[in-house]
């Protein structure tokens, strides 16, 4: 019965290890630790996938099968999984490994917060409001969006650091392994657009679900409103970049603002405001 939680604990430490590898690769400008970071992140992703799948199976053994996406603990685990997956896919495509520092840090933080803050990690049955196939679609799409924005946040931070030392990047300095600024800006834009697609899917699936469950596709519940705020901020970034030609620092700074909105939508709303999404706060 405890197999899934063992796998999740292993993943927590695995992500920490992977983060340390990425960080040392960046700081000591060595490619080898970056490779270890990447390999370990892939292994942890597989372990975590198995852990989530097992938790799903265990819920069936408890007599009420349901997807493991229904409370803060499970959503944090799934957030870590999505960040790792989306980052590693980006890494495969760009072949730059240094960008993994922040995504892996967030994977570890999410798992650590889920494991060590004493929140309820027991597998509980679904309350009637959540018994719907829309649950999986809604949560998965939202979290893929959040994960892409997290990766974009990481790229933005590295971009801003790198841009601040633009005049003369020391060939063996901390920034030596980072992609050229123009390319980082491009990756950042790709991630923001990618996240924007998923967030749109998430908001719309939530609206369709709300309409079929409560009869209103939009009720200005704080979580809804904050997800719309986040959507507007990223929409503003896309417009500013495409039409007004904003690049680099400005886009990176706005991405930090957007990520702040993501964090508030995810945590702030649960803890500070009340509404329909109260399942998320325990």
């Amino acid at each position: 019965m405890m197999e899934s939680s063992l796998l999740l604990s292993i993943s927590t430490f695995g992500f920490l290890l992977s983060f340390v590898f990425y960080l040392s690769g960046l700081v000591f400008h060595r490619k080898r630790p970056l490779k270890w970071g990447s390999v370990s992140a892939w292994i942890v992703l597989v372990i975590l996938t198995a852990g989530i799948a097992l938790r799903w199976i265990e819920s069936y053994q408890l007599g009420f099968g349901r997807a493991p996406l229904s409370n803060l603990y499970e959503s944090l685990v799934f957030a870590a999984w999505s960040i790792a997956l989306i980052y590693l896919l980006l890494e495969l495509r760009t072949r730059y490994r240094v960008l993994g520092v922040f995504p892996l840090l967030f994977c570890f933080l999410a798992m650590a917060y889920a494991s060590f803050s004493g929140m309820d990690s027991a597998i509980r049955p679904l309350v009637p409001a959540l018994q719907s196939n829309w649950l999986i679609i809604h949560v998965v799409t939202c979290f893929f969006g959040y994960a892409a924005f997290t990766v974009s946040f990481g790229i933005s931070i590295l971009y801003l650091f790198r841009a601040a030392h633009k005049p003369n990047p020391h060939p063996k300095g901390v920034y030596a392994l980072l992609p050229p600024l123009k390319q980082m800006d491009e990756f950042n834009y790709q991630m923001i657009f990618f996240g924007f697609i998923w967030l749109s899917l998430g908001i719309i699936s939530g609206a369709v679900w709300a309409n079929s469950a409560w009869g209103t596709y939009w009720s200005w519940d704080p979580k809804e409103t904050w997800s719309l705020i986040t959507w507007l901020v990223y929409a503003a970034i896309l417009h500013a970049r495409n039409i007004r030609g904003w690049r680099g620092n400005r886009v990176a700074l706005l991405s930090l603002v957007g990520f702040g909105c993501v964090l508030f939508t995810y945590f702030g709303v649960n803890f500070l405001l009340s509404g329909l999404h109260s399942y998320g706060s325990f």
Partner: protein
């Protein structure tokens, strides 16, 4: 007059500007933040109760507790629509012109400076080389059109010309969503129906304006039930409903949370449940004179106590408050005084708090009936909104994956190596340069292989 025209023009220019779009986006975001700080749907009294006077005044003046229904918020949305429409009207002709533009011819020197470029020489004559390149491009990218000649070959192939229109599609979908929302708010309604088990009703209490709406049919609640998991948490709320037209039973179906019933364009959702008080046997004792009365009370029906002018009334019934069990809220009206009230415990007749002024209340029997609370709505705009949703998603996804990509090809006699042909390829994409780079490189590799292969064939013969 001229100045006025200039002003108007400037005003129209502002309405059409991207800067305004960004400002509206960020303003909408900022005021929404304000809106979430104060719980939506609070009444004016709640606001004054919860916040200090200055803040409460501010909240009330701008209706921050009910912001999304205020006219200034609607005005902001309207401004966004106007901005969107004017932007479209201004830009669309330009986009159409751009896509219809005659294909520009560039020199090989210019093409070689494009962000994606490739150059090689081959022993093939110009025409053969152009044919080979055309073959590779046709297979891997798109048909190569000839756009120039005279001693050399100049061609262009392009993909995703229509991607420039995607943005209009997305904007149109946003307008469709807003139109759907307007249709819903004009022609739809939303309300609640509380139906006692075994009874039927056709009256909906509308959520806006305390109005009632009579449905053309009645809904009967045959039964309401809750089932629990072993852990004690609720598993299912279920109402068995029957739709009645006159005495005729039209439809019989259970509804659960997430599984509503739609009949005649009206949807019924399982929302809440509770109990009504149907009748109350009450003993009233005057603690000063020691007189007692027994009365059968009905909800909200005042009774005068014999021998006095004092009136008592049952105001409300609650299933459970602060784990004291069920309670009845009583009120007393005495001439020349303001009405006073008290909570009276149903299960504890001797409780000292069961009193108002000099009267002590003891409940002898409370008869209740369970009701199911249904959310009722009709929204003819919802399908328009869904069409807008689908269009928005399709638009955003296509905009992400599609880009307008052009590849120019020039094959001309080489200046550096007489007798050979110089081949130059240059590419441009309006979006997603990373993916285009990969595509371009694959094409160039293909071109190189094809030209080398045909050279080898030539040298063998």
């Amino acid at each position: 007059m001229q100045e006025k025209g200039g002003l108007l023009k400037r005003f129209a220019g502002t309405l059409a500007s991207m800067r305004l779009t960004l400002i509206i986006f960020l303003t909408l975001a900022a005021v929404s933040v304000l809106g979430t700080l104060f719980p939506y749907g609070m009444t004016g009294a709640d606001v004054h109760h919860h916040y200090p006077p200055a803040l409460a005044w501010f909240i009330q003046t701008f209706s921050l507790h009910d912001m999304y229904r205020t006219n200034w918020f609607r005005l902001l949305l309207l401004l966004l629509c106007v901005n969107l429409i004017i932007c479209t009207v201004q830009r669309l002709p330009k986009t159409i012109k751009l896509t219809r533009q005659r294909d520009e011819e560039f020199s090989s020197d210019k093409i070689a400076k494009f962000s994606q470029n490739f150059q090689m020489t081959t022993a093939q004559p110009v025409e053969t080389a152009a044919a080979s390149i055309g073959k590779v491009m046709g297979a891997q990218f798109g048909p190569l059109k000839t756009i120039g000649g005279a001693g050399k070959f100049s061609g262009l192939a392009e993909q995703g010309r229509w991607s420039s229109f995607m943005v209009y599609f997305i904007h149109l979908s946003v307008l469709i969503i807003l139109v759907g929302a307007i249709i819903g708010s004009l022609f739809g309604f939303k309300g609640i129906m509380n139906i006692i088990e075994g009874e039927a009703s056709n009256t909906v209490m509308l959520s806006r304006g305390h109005e009632r709406l009579e449905l053309p049919f009645a809904v009967r609640c045959d039964a309401f039930s809750i089932s629990y998991y072993e852990t004690g948490t609720p598993r299912e709320y279920r109402s068995d409903l029957t739709i009645l037209k006159g005495d005729e039973e039209i439809l019989q179906t259970p509804i659960r949370v997430n599984h509503p019933l739609t009949y005649g364009g009206i949807t019924f959702y399982q929302s809440t449940y509770g109990s009504f008080l149907t009748s109350l046997d009450l003993e009233i004792r005057d603690t000063e004179s020691g007189r007692t009365w027994t009365k059968n009370m009905r909800m909200r029906t005042p009774e005068t106590l014999p021998g006095t002018t004092d009136q008592i009334q049952v105001m409300d019934y609650r299933e459970d408050i602060a784990q004291l069990g069920p309670i009845v809220i009583m009120a007393m009206l005495r001439e020349g005084e303001e009405a006073t009230g008290a909570y009276v415990l149903v299960n504890d007749p001797d409780f000292h708090g069961n009193r108002i002024s000099n009267y002590h209340f003891a409940i002898q029997e409370a008869e209740t009936a369970r009701y199911t609370g249904l959310q009722v709505k009709s929204d003819p705009g919802v399908w328009v909104v869904y069409v807008g949703f689908s269009a928005l998603l399709i638009g955003i996804i296509l905009a992400y994956y599609m880009s307008h990509r052009k590849i120019w090809v020039v094959a001309e006699p080489s200046r550096q190596f007489p007798g050979r042909t110089q081949v130059t390829l240059g590419g441009r994409a309006n979006r997603n340069p990373l993916a285009f780079e990969e595509e371009f490189q694959t094409i160039c590799q293909g071109v190189e292989q094809e030209l080398r292969a045909s050279e080898n064939k030539d040298s063998e013969t």
